[in-house]
Symmetry: C2
Subunit: 234 residues, 2 copies
DNA sequence: CGGATATACGTAATATTTACGTTATTTTGT
DNA sequence: ACAAAATAACGTAAATATTACGTATATCCG
């Protein structure tokens, strides 16, 4: 029977298990990290895994992803973006399951440590990701690539930092995502020329004797600029 | 019950109808077009719609999309890319259905007219898209936005043209996607500077008395350049 | 053969990116 | 008290890319 045959539509269609898996990125002031979990169900119970769940009830996929993030990190209003669908027929030996992977960016500071421990979770550096269940390593790879492309043209990197941050920290964030060093003088020039940061008169002295001024992202300004055709680029 | 509860995993999970919908782009030498179909099932039977089908059997989502495209256009090896998932609980009054939208780029020339007619399909200009069923208008909007961003940095526009094409045609293609006019002298300079086009000694005289040289995309060259860190940009 | 039309090639001004030099602030050690 | 050390902050020139145009060429048609 062809997919486009119309004889029995809706009545006898095949229903499928739908899951959501979340690639959770964090930044610990030096390196980009990934939050991984010990899988709680068979098959592969106890192995490292992305956090995920089956979609049920009347939640949209996106809402299901949000709920998973809240349940495992205690955070709401997290940056969340759909990555792609993983649907190879045999990707999960437990059953035919398609998974719609999402990635999210969180500020490690805001983070609910207790929740994380309750869920047997651990932060991993990107170059130390262990073998993960199913096709989760591929998901991570795809998510990192997506993040690399996206942070350049969308001001989403700020979600990985606390509300107030220094320019050297912002630079270090981009370096850890791009995996290459940037020239601090040019970085500073480029980011400041976009006029989407608000400079405060406070300094963070945790990284140097001189201290670096704290800035915050000016979302309102960015939204206005965006309507005028401005494109973020760093 | 929480999504992440593990008491009954796999056994009593909720299965969901999964569909694929395809946004099919074409280019008729002047304008970007969309292939739309008359819906063949209730609800909304007879209304304009994207082509789609439920996912069944052991096909991956991507393979299901490919098969739909083959059945409706007679074309194989079409450029196809996942757009995003549409999953509002009430998006389809027929049942709870999530749809994973894909967009594809085809060369109208290669096209099997009989197939299209068999499926009650019609090409529409982008500014003349009728009301579509369900959330299909939103899918189209999202697909157009995605295409606009993607053609700038990936050499995918060539999929909308015949194998051999003139530079003015390529420019017209980009103009119809970006919806703004480009300077032909700068366009030519920029595309040729990337060394991914092969110039032939043949001319197409259908658009002018002088005729314009035919070029084709050098995929092998592009793949080599890509490994060297080159990024397409137009 | 001259005008019309679209194609093809060229150049100067402007803007952006890159590479690197210099100054400033503060702590620490002598 | 002051020099050394470390990071942050500011600046400038060269190289590269983009933009805005001017001009030449091939062909058809009247």
């Amino acid at each position: 029977m062809k997919l486009t045959d119309t004889a029995h539509m809706y009545n006898v269609q095949q229903k499928i298990l739908v899951a959501v898996d979340c690639i959770i990125f964090g930044f610990d002031t030096q390196n980009l990290k990934l939050l991984l979990f010990k899988r709680k169900v068979d098959p592969f119970k106890g192995d490292w895994s992305l956090i995920g769940a089956f979609v049920k009830g009347n939640l949209s996929i996106n809402d299901a992803a949000k709920q998973i993030l809240f349940e495992t990190t205690g955070l709401k209003d997290i940056y969340l973006d759909e990555l792609k669908t993983y649907s190879d027929y045999n990707r999960d030996p437990g059953d035919r399951v398609i998974s719609i992977a999402h990635y999210s960016l969180i500020s490690i500071n805001d983070f609910d440590i207790e929740k994380v421990e309750e869920f047997d979770a651990k932060w991993f550096n990107l170059d130390e990701i262990p073998d993960l269940v199913l096709d989760h390593n591929q998901m991570v790879k795809d998510a990192v690539n997506r993040l690399r492309k996206k942070v350049k043209h969308q001001p989403i990197g700020f979600n990985l930092l606390p509300e107030y941050f220094t320019l050297p920290k912002l630079q270090r964030l981009y370096e850890s995502i791009y995996q290459r060093e940037l020239d601090s003088r040019n970085f500073r020039k480029k980011i400041l020329s976009q006029n989407i940061l608000i400079k405060t008169d406070k300094k963070d002295k945790s990284e140097s004797k001189k201290g670096a001024f704290l800035y915050c992202f000016d979302k309102d300004k960015f939204d206005i600029l965006k309507t005028k055709g401005y494109n973020f680029d760093i």
